[in-house]
Amino acid sequence: MKNRDSTKYLRNATLFALASILLFIWVFPLVWAVVVSLKSEAEVLAYPPRIIFEATAQNFKDALFGGVSILPSLITSLIVSTATTILTILIAVPAAYAFARLELRGKKWLGFYTLATQMVPPVGLVIPYFLILNKVGWLDSYQGMITVYLTFSLPFAIWLLVSYMEDIPREMEEAAFLDKANRFQALWHVILPQVRGGIAVTIIFVFLNAWNEFLFAVQLGGNTVRPVTVAMYNFVSVEQTLWAKLSAAALIAMVPMIIIGITAQKQIVKGLTVGAVKGGGRQ
């Protein structure tokens, strides 16, 4: 018994040490950003770096309200990301339902086509998108940026949601049909509440991707539509990089993601359908 206990202890200690190392590697940049954001620009460049320094909130003030404020860009990012997410969900939910349940002609082919769009490297699409948006007159416009983002988020969202919907036993819907629900009512009352977890996950990923997107934003945006990822670049110039302000801006840009992550996490847990059907449901 004693021997087994000590083996178990050793195993736990090893796992804990490994996890700590991995966590440290992962968290270090974040911690460093926090540290840097609280320093003055001069302090950042001090060598060797000092552990003890006079913390200041000036960088956050400057990043938000200074000469090169990221506040307008934050609002732009919020508009673009929210609109992309809402439109994606509005289109992807019925599309995923159709893929999961309806007998459509060419469904397999359509499914592959949807997935195939994900296989093209984004860099290869920048120039075609630029030319198209230029022709339509949608360069540096909200509708242009959101449309481009939808081309990436929709295939991803549809495929994620299809897997959630396929997990729901067909009898569930058939029972709803026999209970005189039409297809829309069955989707609304019976299917959607059970894929809440899947929708929450989809929202997080779509919002996160749109919020963090840089390549298309920098090429297809401009002065009207300048998301926060692009705006942060204002702190980097040929002559110097304002590390402290850049760190502060980066930390501010993370806040919405963290809020969404925490709120949606509860929904993911709620979305589990344990005990719905004998031997069925997402366990």
């Binding site: 026999l178 059970q194 719905a276």
Partner: protein
């Protein structure tokens, strides 16, 4: 089988169902090969057959969940062959219950009422009544995941009976319950059906379940209905060899024999069937249930192969040539290995079948 009370209800009752020439294929598999069926109002009707025989497909055709390739279905004279499930006024209990996991029992049972446009203030009362009938009215605020299998099954029943449907469909509703609960629920289900006066179609592969619960039943084999009748008729006058082998547990002994006038011979054993009228002589298949064979007398010589003690009775397996003959003895006594005995058949309970077609020869 049906009481006079039921007879009078049938005359003006609702829920008369008829199927004519229903065919359904899935790819190359022919699931239903032309089904004709008439179900009377208020009847408790069982669809019995082994798995893959087409009974569940027939139920789904009745529900409108599986549209037939060919054929006609009417309910109370109205053609509903191509109606949507919701337009048929049918309720169904699924084998896996298909309860809505995110809703409380109250919401589950009330869902059909809500969809049917029943005024909101009437729903709680109707839900409570239905739940009380299956004794789950104290669980209404729980969710399906917090219930036992038996309670889930009752919830599925309550959801089906809450809006008094024209037709009540049950797909192996007891198969997920343990043996003890299955027997109890079987009795309650029968009582419930009597009190509701709703035409009920019940799918099962368990012949004992069908025998005890149904007013009439249809026996399915291989995509066709081979016999329709009361449990008594199906048990005592199986229409062919397959039905004879399927109904009854342990199953009927089927032995090759020869018919000459009114005399049947199996090997050296001969017995007369006085009621038999004018059937040409030739080979026949002799069917006899294990409980209709007695030991002793000038009978069929047999070797004891295996004896099973069932407590109050014994099940004996005898070898006669290559055939295995089962005998149920209403008493328990001891036998020696390979003991030689003589088996005599109760001629009142002998069945004869044509060896080529398998069809019953009427006695």
């Amino acid at each position: 089988m049906s009481s006079p009370m039921n007879q009078s209800k049938r005359a003006h009752g609702r829920g008369r169902v008829s199927l004519r020439g229903i065919r359904k294929s899935f790819g190359t598999f022919e699931a239903l090969k032309g089904i004709d069926l008439d179900i009377e109002p208020v009847e408790f009707f069982a669809l019995l057959g082994p798995s893959g025989s087409g009974k569940t497909t027939t139920l789904r055709v009745l529900a409108g969940l599986t549209p037939p390739d060919e054929g006609l279905m009417t309910v109370d004279g109205v053609d509903v062959t191509h109606s949507q499930p919701g337009e048929r006024d049918v309720a169904m209990v699924f084998q896996n219950y298909a309860l809505y996991p995110h809703m409380t029992l109250e919401a589950n049972i009330g869902f059909p009422l809500k969809m049917d446009g029943v005024p909101k203030n009437q729903i709680p009362g109707m839900v409570r009544d239905a739940a009380a009938k299956v004794k789950i009215d104290h669980l209404l605020h729980r969710r399906p995941g917090q219930l036992s299998g038996g309670q889930q099954q009752r919830c599925a029943l309550a959801r089906a009976i809450v809006r008094q449907p024209r037709l009540f469909l049950l797909d192996e509703p007891l198969s997920n319950l343990d043996a003890q609960l299955r027997l109890e629920t079987r009795v309650e289900l029968k009582k419930l059906q009597r009190s509701l006066d709703v035409t009920t179609v019940y799918v099962t592969h368990d012949q004992e379940e069908a025998m005890t619960i149904a007013d009439r039943m249809a026996v399915f084999l291989d995509g066709s209905i081979v016999q329709v009748g009361t449990p008594d008729e199906v048990f005592n006058k199986p229409s062919n060899v397959d039905v004879a082998a399927f109904i009854g547990s342990p199953s009927m002994n089927l032995i090759e024999g020869h018919l000459n006038g009114k005399t049947v011979s199996i090997g050296d054993y001969r017995f007369d069937l006085p009621k038999l009228s004018n059937h040409p002589s030739g080979n026949v298949i002799v069917g006899i249930r294990p409980s209709h064979i007695a030991l002793g007398g000038a009978g069929l010589t047999a070797n004891l192969y295996l004896s099973e003690n069932l407590g109050e009775s014994m099940l004996l397996n005898f070898k006669v040539g290559d055939n295995l003959i089962k005998v149920r003895l209403p008493e328990v006594r001891s036998f020696t290995d390979n003991e030689v005995v003589h088996l005599t058949f109760d001629s009142a309970h002998v069945h004869l079948f044509d060896p080529k077609s398998g069809i019953r020869i009427d006695l």
